[in-house]
Amino acid sequence: MANVILEMKSITKEFPGVKALDNVNLRVESGEIHALIGENGAGKSTLMNVLSGTYPAGSYDGEIFYEGKLCQFKTQKDSEALGIVIIHQELALIPLLSIGENMFLGNELKNQFGFIDWDKTYSEAERHMRQVGLNESAQTLVRDIGTGKQQLVEIAKAFSKEVKLLILDEPTSSLNDEDAKMLLDLLIAFKEEGLTSIIITHKLNEIIYCADKVTIIRDGSTIETLVKGVDEFSEDRIIKGMVGRSMEDRYPAREHNIQPEINLEVKHWTVHHPLYPERVVDEDISFYIRKGEVVGFSGLQGAGRTELAMSIFGNSYGTNITGELYLGGQKVSLKSCQDAIRHKLAYVTEDRKTNGLILDESIRFNTTLARLDKVCQKGVIDGDREIQVAEEMKKAMGTKTPTIEQHVGNLSGGNQQKALLGKWMFTEPDILIMDEPTRGIDVGAKYEIYCLINQMVSQGKSVMMISSELPELLGMCDRIYVMNEGRLLAEVEAKDATQEGIMGYIIRDTNKE
C-alpha cells in the first residue's frame, strides 16, 4: 500500500531577494488525492513548478524522487514524458481552436508523411473526452464551451499524455459549486482507477470532501501533513495549521444597525446581452438595500448577478437596459461609469486583474484613478497630496507592501484586493457593489476584507455582495437574494437561511424546465 510515487526532499528555491521555498518536503503515495494548502504566496505554485520542471533542475536545491528514481527535469516536457502533468489555474487553452486541436497542441498526431492526421486526432480526442465525461464534439471550438467544460478539456488533455500524477492548481476557482463537485467526483473516480493527484486549493470543504491527505505550507515551509482517518481532518484544524492559530470565527462579529432608509432600489430591471441583443440576461429584477445593510446575491455562474451589478453601475454591461433605479429615494439614470461614481456608487469587480487594477502601475496610481479630480487643482495633479492619500488608503485597508510605489502586479492576491478596495473607498461611495470580494485570496486576507466590509456598513454605507461561496454570504449578509438564469428567485433573511435551503431554490428552479 505504502507505495510512494513522489518524494520531494528538502526543496529550497530562492528568487532574488526572497526565499520562496525553504526545506520543503512532500511525500505522495500512489493512488491518493493529496491536497496542498497554504495562504497566497506560501509557495504552493512554486513547489509545483519545481516538480514539473518549469524551474529547471539546478535552479533549486533538494532532490525529487519519482517512482523511486532521482529526477532532474530540465523542462516541462521531461516531466510530462514520465506522466507528470500540471494543469494551471489560468487555463492554457486557445479559444479559437477546436477541443481536439487544443488537446494535441505541441503534441500533434502525424501520419507517415509528417502531416497532421485529423481523423486520428479527433477520434483520440473524443476517446479521452469520454473518459472525463465530456460529451461534446472534438471539433467544437473551445470558445463555445463553458469554463467547467474547459477544465475537463484540460484533464482530457492530461489523459492524452498518459498521466500518472495529475497536478491541479486551483481547478475549481472559476467554477460554480455544481461544476466543482462534478470535477471532484471525477477525481475520486479516477483515484479508484489508480490515478494519483495533487490538488492545490483554497477551498477547505473541497479538501474535506475529496482528499486523503493534506499538506499545509506556510511561508515557504511545510508545516504538517494530515491524514484522513488518522489525524483530525476538519476545516478548523486545517485553518489552524495554515495561519498558525485557530480561527475561532471565520466571520467577524458585527453589530447589526440597519437604518430604515433605503439607499438603493431597483425596479423591474431588465438587461439584454451586448452582442446578442435578443438574449435576456436579467429579467424584471426588483430589489432594495437599506443603509448599513449587507445584501448578498447568491447563484451559480451565469445567473446574471455580475451583469446585473455592472448594468446598474452606469450601464457598463448590456444593451436595451430598462427599469428604474433609485438612489437615496431619488430616481436617477446613470449613463456612464462616471455618472455612477458621481452618484456615489462603486463597483468592486470580481476580476481584479482584468477589470479592476492597472497591474503595471503603482498602488498610488491605482488608488486615485477613479477620482483624480480629488487630488487635482485645475487639472494639475498635486503629487504630494496624492502620495498622502495613497498612504492613508494603504493604512486604512491594511495593504501589506513596503511602499505605495510598488507595482500592483507584484502584490499577492489578497493585497491586490485591498488595493482595489482602497481605490473604490477613495471615491467615497455610499453604495458598494462587491463582486466576489474574496475570490482567490487566503483565509487571513479574507478575514481582513470582511472586517473592512463591516466597518463600511457601520458608517451607514450599503453593500451589495455577490458571492459564489454560500458560507461567506451566510456569515456576512443581513439578507440574501437568490438568483438563477437571470431571474430573482427568492429573498431570505440570512439568519434564517441555510446552504441547503438556498441551493434548494436554485436546483429546483434549474430542474423545472
Binding site: S316, C337, N355, E361, C376, V380, I381, G383
Partner: protein, 392 residues
C-alpha cells in the same frame, strides 16, 4: 532592497541606461569626427534638424501610451499641410498669419477624422492611419499639383525659422541673448531644486539625498549653459528652437502632471479597468489622434519654413523617425509607459547618429542599418531588463 552597493549600481545603470547610451554615442562620434560634431554650427543644427521629429514624437507618445498604437500618416500630413501653406502663401499671395491658422486647423481636422474612426468606431489604428498615409499623401500632391513650391515670405519664415536678433545684444559675433537665456534657465533650474527640496522638507515628505538632487540639477544647468554658449557662437537662438522646446515642455507637463495626461497611461495599462473607473476611454483615443494631427500640421509648417520649399515627397518616413524615437526613448510597445524626457533622449540619439555619420561621410545606406540596429537594441534592452527586475 539589500542596500549593498553593487545592487544599487545595477539599478542606476538600468534606470539611466538611455542617458548613458546617449553620452557614450555622443563622445564616440565627437571622437570619430575629430571634434567636428562639437562645432557650434553642428550643435545648433542638431536640434533644428531634429526639431520636427521631437514635435511629432510628443504627439506619437500619446498614441503609443494608449496601447502601443502608432500613427503612420504623420509624414503625409506634413506634406499636405506644408504644401497647403506653400501654395496659399506663394501661389495665391495670402498673408501668413491666417494661412498658419488655417493650416493648423486642417492638421487638426485630419486628426479628428482619424481619431473618430479609431476612438469611436474602433477601427484598428494601424489600418486607419495606413489609409490616412495614402490618402493625405495623395491629397498633398493634388494641392501641390505635383510640383515643388517654394516659400520665401519673410513673415512666415520669421515665425518659424529665423534667428532671434535683439538689437544691441546680438550685433557682434557672440550672440549675447543666447548666453542670457542660458544663464537665466540654469539659475531657474537650480533655484527650483532648492525650492522643491525646501517644500518637501517642510511637509515632511520623502527626499532624495541632497547630493543626488544637486548633482542632477547642476549637471543639467551646466549642460544648458554650455549649449547656449555654443548657440551664441553660431547664430543665436532660432525661433524654431523656441517652438520645439515649448512643445516638449508643454507635453512633458501634460503627461507628467495633469489628470488628463495620466488617463493616457491608464488606458494603455488596462483599458477595461480605466473605463470602469469612470473615464471615457473612447475620448482618450480620439484626443490622442486629433492631437497627433495638430502636431503633424505644425510640423508641416516648421518643415516648409526650414527647407524653404515643399514637394510631393516632403515628410516621407518622418513617421518612422517619430515612432523610433519613442521606442528608443523607452516607451512600451504595449502602451502604458513612456515619458517625454525619454522621447527627447531617443530623438537626440537618432539625431547624433545621423549627424555624426553624415560628417564622417557614411552614406544613407549605413545610416539606415545603424538606426535600425539601435532601435532594436534599445527595445531588446528594455524588455530584457524589465524581465530581470520581475516586471514582465
Amino acid at each position: 532592497m539589500n542596500g549593498n552597493n553593487t545592487f544599487n549600481l545595477m539599478r542606476f545603470l538600468t534606470k539611466y541606461a538611455m542617458i548613458i547610451a546617449l553620452v557614450v554615442v555622443f563622445f564616440l562620434f565627437a571622437f570619430l569626427t575629430d571634434g567636428t560634431l562639437l562645432y557650434p554650427q553642428n550643435m545648433s543644427n542638431l536640434l533644428l534638424q531634429n526639431g520636427y521629429v521631437l514635435v511629432m514624437a510628443c504627439g506619437m507618445l500619446l498614441c503609443i501610451l494608449t496601447g502601443g498604437n502608432i500613427d503612420l500618416s504623420v509624414g503625409s500630413v506634413v506634406c499636405l499641410v506644408g504644401g497647403l501653406a506653400a501654395v496659399l502663401i506663394s501661389n495665391m499671395g495670402l498673408p501668413s498669419i491666417p494661412v498658419i491658422i488655417l493650416c493648423l486647423i486642417v492638421g487638426l481636422l485630419v486628426g479628428v477624422w482619424q481619431g473618430y474612426w479609431i476612438g469611436y468606431v474602433r477601427i484598428p489604428p494601424f489600418i486607419t492611419t495606413l489609409g490616412g498615409m495614402f490618402i493625405f499623401r495623395g491629397v498633398g500632391r493634388l494641392v501641390l499639383n505635383s510640383k515643388t513650391v517654394a516659400i520665401q515670405d519673410p513673415a512666415f519664415l520669421n515665425i518659424f525659422t529665423a534667428y532671434i536678433k535683439i538689437p544691441g545684444l546680438d550685433d557682434g559675433d557672440t550672440k549675447l541673448s543666447a548666453l542670457i537665456v542660458g544663464i537665466v534657465a540654469a539659475v531657474c533650474i537650480v533655484l527650483n531644486t532648492v525650492k522643491n527640496r525646501r517644500e518637501r522638507a517642510k511637509k515632511g515628505y520623502h527626499q532624495n539625498s541632497a547630493f543626488s538632487d544637486y548633482i542632477k540639477s547642476g549637471l543639467i544647468a551646466a549642460l544648458l549653459l554650455y549649449y547656449c554658449h555654443l548657440l551664441s557662437q553660431y547664430r543665436g537662438i532660432s525661433v524654431m528652437l523656441v517652438w520645439v522646446v515649448a512643445i516638449c515642455l508643454i507635453y512633458n507637463f501634460i503627461t507628467a502632471k495633469t489628470a488628463f495626461g495620466r488617463y493616457f497611461y491608464a488606458v494603455g495599462g488596462n483599458e477595461k479597468a480605466t473605463k470602469l473607473s469612470g473615464i471615457n476611454t473612447n475620448k482618450i483615443y480620439f484626443i490622442a489622434y486629433a492631437n497627433m494631427g495638430l502636431l503633424a500640421g505644425l510640423c508641416g509648417l516648421l518643415c516648409a519654413a526650414r527647407v524653404g520649399s515643399v514637394n510631393g515627397s516632403t515628410g516621407t518616413s518622418f513617421e518612422m523617425d517619430a515612432i523610433g524615437s519613442c521606442f528608443i526613448g523607452g516607451a512600451s510597445a504595449y502602451g502604458g509607459s513612456g515619458s517625454v524626457g525619454g522621447v527627447v533622449i531617443g530623438a537626440l540619439l537618432l539625431g547624433i547618429i545621423n549627424m555624426g555619420m553624415s560628417i564622417m561621410g557614411l552614406g544613407d545606406a549605413w545610416q539606415y542599418v545603424i538606426k535600425g540596429g539601435v532601435l532594436l537594441l534599445a527595445v531588446i534592452f528594455d524588455v530584457v531588463s524589465s524581465r530581470k527586475t520581475g516586471k514582465g
